[in-house]
């Protein structure tokens, strides 16, 4: 019930305070912060799970002396589902942090990082249960600022400071739209209480657009994603896991929550989200392929996955606006299941990336390689995450994408032509995204963990500590469990879907095939086991020798001759060259006795290309306002007097009426 969640939030807040007070003692603050957040996350996750299973909802109203209404918190199925995602991913990230953060001891105080982490989790949980505009926005801002300070944890690095600023600007840009959204809704319904928010007609359209921009900038819809590939890699890895895993999903939560206020959706809303989803998905994965920094690649892949979620919501809206409950059910449930799945797998992948960076000191894909032997647990869980995020059976990513695919197929089959076309277009887009994602993650896993080390430092790598390994193990197990038993995971999603789309639960249409997926996974496992046994039986007693990799007769193979991450993705990226905006700086070998050659490639981002000049122009315009800022006290006194006189005149004229 909501009391459990409030208890968890209070515990997070108190442990954050304690960690902040104990800043001088790194170990103590880390222990207290981790203990607090783990207990809070376990309590909160079980509370949310219980509420989802029992399908209950509960509310609590308080009083305060602030204007604009009373604080109101409640937990319905939508809140409970997002709370489950928040607490599971945060709990794992907190345990991971207890193994990851000690490397910073001596270089940096851990207290603030621990305290801010707990504060961030508390704000995310508070955001999801908030039921009035003021409380919601307060939590939203706490979340933004706590994550800003976490992103700039290593603030002695220039690139981290720049990433932090870009993040701060983006989140404040987004929140402006949210302020307008809530003011509009509040004015039309006379209160800031979510229960009484309602909008129709033009107001609903305006609110929808405001929500798409405001929440979309947090979620990372293209082209509002520009901060994401900067900020997520700059943060320490457990924070990246939390931000990519759940924080950006709160943009999705906000969008879904807003949709509950707006009544029946207009047809064009679905077009907007399908378009945004397709563009974010494709552009996200293409740019992910183009990256050579492990964490940047993962961050761009988050943009792709947000695109998949938006496609799901778009299909949900399509079904809703065209009156087909089946399409909307599959669209929304796919989107929500993918929220949970992506939280788990992106958490897992960022934690794996953190362990690699921790062990080797580099995040460049071009220098890594051959880490499987050094860090088998990390490698295995990274493999699980890679297969899952590629949407391949039998892991959880497939289950979520399967629902979205089925929604699109149903839309193409059952809607009139005008509605079938967008659903049909979604199909090849989903397939292309899936194919590119598989290529991206097989390349990532392959270049980091397989083959031979590409640079000197890598051979000295070591496996991550117990805390880090165990969280990655639990994360992998959860991915596998949802993949093998998707019908169980769907049961958590259905109550939340019922809140958004007001359709009678058609869950049986989905659960029977999901059980069939489990059956197919079982058969696949059986086949693999049988073939493995066959291979073992065949090789028993025969000569099995070890040798070097066959080099087509070349006698002195070298680890630098391996295919690199960039060469792997070259044929994939070639057809997408117009959108990746590659800057090449090249000096080829020349002359009869060529000496040095140079090749440097930088991948830009089309979003950046348009946003940076646009922002410059706005800044230039606004700088004209400096005319009134002369820095002299006398002048400011004049301003004050002038304002007062103007107000006085205004009031007198009003009174005269």
């Amino acid at each position: 019930m909501v009391g459990t969640i409030l208890f968890a939030i209070a515990l997070l807040g108190l442990s954050a305070l304690a960690a902040a007070l104990l800043t001088r003692f790194d170990r103590a603050s880390l222990t207290i912060g981790t203990t607090g957040s783990v207990i809070a996350c376990v309590t909160g996750a079980s509370g949310a799970l219980a509420s989802l299973v029992r399908r209950g909802s509960s509310a609590l109203r308080g009083t305060w002396s602030l204007p604009l209404g009373e604080p109101h918190v409640a937990m319905d199925a939508l809140s409970a589902f997002f709370l489950l995602c928040i607490f599971v991913v945060s709990g794992l990230a907190a345990v991971y942090a207890s193994g990851y953060l000690p490397t910073y001891i001596g270089r940096r105080r851990l207290g603030p990082a621990v305290a801010l982490f707990n504060l961030l989790v508390a704000a995310m949980a508070g955001l999801v249960i908030a039921r009035d505009g003021i409380l919601f926005l307060m939590n939203w801002e706490v979340m933004s600022f706590a994550s800003f300070f976490l992103v700039t944890f290593e603030n002695d690095r220039e690139d981290v400071r720049r990433a932090g600023m870009s993040y701060l600007v983006a989140s404040q840009f987004g929140v402006v739209f949210l302020f307008i959204l809530f003011v509009l809704l509040g004015r039309s319904s006379g209160t800031y209480d979510f229960d009484r928010f309602a909008a129709t007609g033009g107001l609903a359209n305006a609110c929808f657009l405001l929500a798409v921009v405001g929440f979309g900038s947090k979620a990372g819809f293209w082209p509002l994603h520009f901060w994401l590939p900067e900020a997520h890699p700059a943060a320490p890895s457990h924070v990246s896991a939390l931000m990519s895993g759940v924080m950006i999903k709160l943009g999705i939560y906000g969008l879904l929550r807003t949709l509950t206020f707006l009544g029946p959706p207009a047809v064009w809303w679905s077009t907007v989200l399908l378009l945004l989803g397709a563009i974010s998905g494709l552009a996200g994965i293409v740019h992910a392929l183009a990256q050579r920094d492990l964490k940047r690649r993962l961050a761009y892949s988050s943009v792709e996955n947000i695109g998949l979620i938006a496609l799901g919501i778009g299909l949900g809206l399509l079904g809703q606006s065209r009156g087909n409950a089946l399409v909307s059910f599959f669209g929304y449930s796919g989107a929500l299941l993918h929220v949970l799945n992506h939280g788990l797998m992106k958490g897992l992948l960022f934690q794996g990336a953190g362990s690699v960076i921790h062990a080797t000191g580099t995040r460049s894909l071009e220098s890594l390689g051959g880490l499987y032997r050094k860090m088998p647990t990390t490698a295995l869980s990274f493999l699980v995450g890679s297969v899952a995020i590629s949407g391949l059976p039998p892991l959880n990513g497939f289950a979520g994408e399967w629902l979205i695919y089925v929604g699109a197929f149903h839309g193409a089959e059952r809607l009139p032509t005008a509605g079938a076309v967008p659903a049909l277009v979604a199909l090849p887009v989903l397939a292309l995204i899936g194919g590119l994602a598989a290529a991206c993650f097989v390349a990532t896993f392959g270049t980091v963990f397989l083959g031979l080390p590409r640079t000197e430092g890598v051979p000295r790598a070591h496996e991550a500590g117990l805390a880090m390994r165990s969280t990655m193990g639990i994360g992998s197990l959860l991915c596998v469990a949802i993949g093998l038993w998707p019908a169980g995971a769907l049961r958590l999603v259905v109550p939340a879907v019922a809140l958004v789309s007001e359709v009678p639960a058609l869950a049986s249409d989905a659960t029977t095939p999901l059980f069939a997926i489990s059956r197919a996974a079982f058969v696949l496992g059986l086949l693999v086991a049988l073939l493995a046994l066959l291979r073992r039986a065949l090789l028993r007693g025969r000569e099995v020798t070890q040798g070097v990799t066959w080099g087509c007769g070349y006698a002195a193979p070298d680890s630098r001759m391996q295919y690199t991450a960039s060469s792997f993705v070259q044929p994939l990226l070639a057809p997408f060259a117009p959108i990746t905006h590659v800057r090449v700086d090249e000096e080829g070998p020349s002359g009869y006795f060529p000496r040095d050659a140079r090749y440097h490639e930088e991948i830009g981002d089309v979003g950046e290309r348009f946003l940076v000049p646009g922002t410059r122009r706005v800044v230039h315009l606004l700088s004209q306002l400096r005319v009134i800022q002369q820095g002299r006290v006398q002048l400011y006194v004049v301003y004050i007097v002038a304002t007062l006189v103007a107000l006085l005149v205004f009031e007198l004229m009003g009174a005269g009426k």
Binding site: P393, L427, A431, P513, W550
Partner: protein, 306 residues
């Protein structure tokens, strides 16, 4: 039960024969007598009796690659109805599982290739990744052409809806689907004009490049995996072109086998008469297949279902 056994028998026994037929056709075109039709079976038998050599660079993934690729191909074969109206693992939504299983097999083949640290195998994996990413939308669009008139997401229903129509093409969309599926079949099974299965020169190495380091039973698994994949994707195409009449029983099996052998001869003819495309052209070929399928879908939507 009898259906299941027949299904398994078809899936396990027939596939290498298709490779033999393709090779025989190519030999006939070249004016050679060629290897015996059953040569692929002899090759498999020889490989299964051998030992193995593994590179010191490799991990268990290298050994898992062939196993997973064969297992996923077999599993995809169990999802697809072959001669009967339904399949052992079919359900509503199995079209997506079918595509996903082929993707999983490819993922592990590519991982196994990267595991060796060889630049040749990396090159093969990279090209495989690129081409399959472009083949996937085409395959899905072709499947959509089959599913939409049947108003069902199961391959059994979609292919079953065809059998009520007279054999051949009752609607232009099916022609588009068949051509699209043929292009996907060539790409998925590393055939000319996408890849050349008979060489592993750098210029052509895609699938063959990826499996350079495999030997013995592992190579046998790789070969039979690609044969099963050819058979499975081929069976899908054959059932579109030659839909078996309902309740046909053994006649359906006969129709499938005739269709498959004809398809193998067709692939052999294409391989003998065409040159491999330049690598940058391959994505265009596959996007062309997608566009064709898209036109078929448009015909389906605007002219109405058959």
């Amino acid at each position: 039960m009898a259906d299941l056994l027949l299904h398994l028998a078809l899936l396990l026994v027939v596939p290498p024969l298709l490779l033999g037929v393709i090779q025989k056709t190519k030999a006939w075109f070249a004016g050679r007598r060629g290897a015996p039709l059953l040569q692929p079976y002899f090759d498999l038998w020889k490989l299964l009796r051998k030992g193995a050599v593994y590179s010191r660079t490799t991990t268990w993934l290298f050994r898992a690659g062939p196993i997973v690729s064969l297992a996923t191909a077999l599993c995809a074969g169990l999802v697809l109805p072959l001669a009967a109206a339904s399949s052992p693992l079919g359900f509503s939504g199995d079209v997506i599982l079918f595509v996903g299983l082929l993707g999983l097999g490819r993922f592990f083949t590519m991982a196994a290739a990267l595991d060796t640290g060889s630049s040749f195998e990396g090159m093969g994996a990279s090209r495989e990744a690129a081409f399959s990413a472009f083949a996937e939308p085409a395959l899905l669009l072709c499947l959509a052409i089959l599913c939409i008139p049947a108003r069902s997401l199961s391959l059994g229903d979609a292919l079953g809806a065809l059998s009520s129509a007279p054999p051949g093409f009752s609607h232009p969309a099916y022609l588009a689907a068949a051509l699209g599926l043929f292009a996907v079949l060539l790409a998925e099974n590393s055939r000319i004009p996408v890849d050349d299965p008979t060489t592993h020169l750098e210029l052509t190495m895609i699938h063959e490049g990826m499996v350079l380091d495999h030997g013995g039973p592992d190579l046998a698994f790789v070969l039979s995996g690609s044969a099963v994949k050819l058979f499975v994707v081929g069976a899908l195409l054959v059932r579109v072109v030659l839909p078996p009449p309902a309740q046909s029983g053994l006649a359906g099996v006969g129709l499938l086998l005739v269709g498959q052998l004809g398809l193998a001869v067709g692939v052999g003819c294409v391989e003998s008469m065409m040159a491999r495309l330049r690598l940058p052209r391959v994505p265009q070929f596959l996007v062309g297949a997608s566009v064709l399928a898209g036109i078929g879908l448009a015909a389906l939507l605007y002219r109405g279902a058959p």
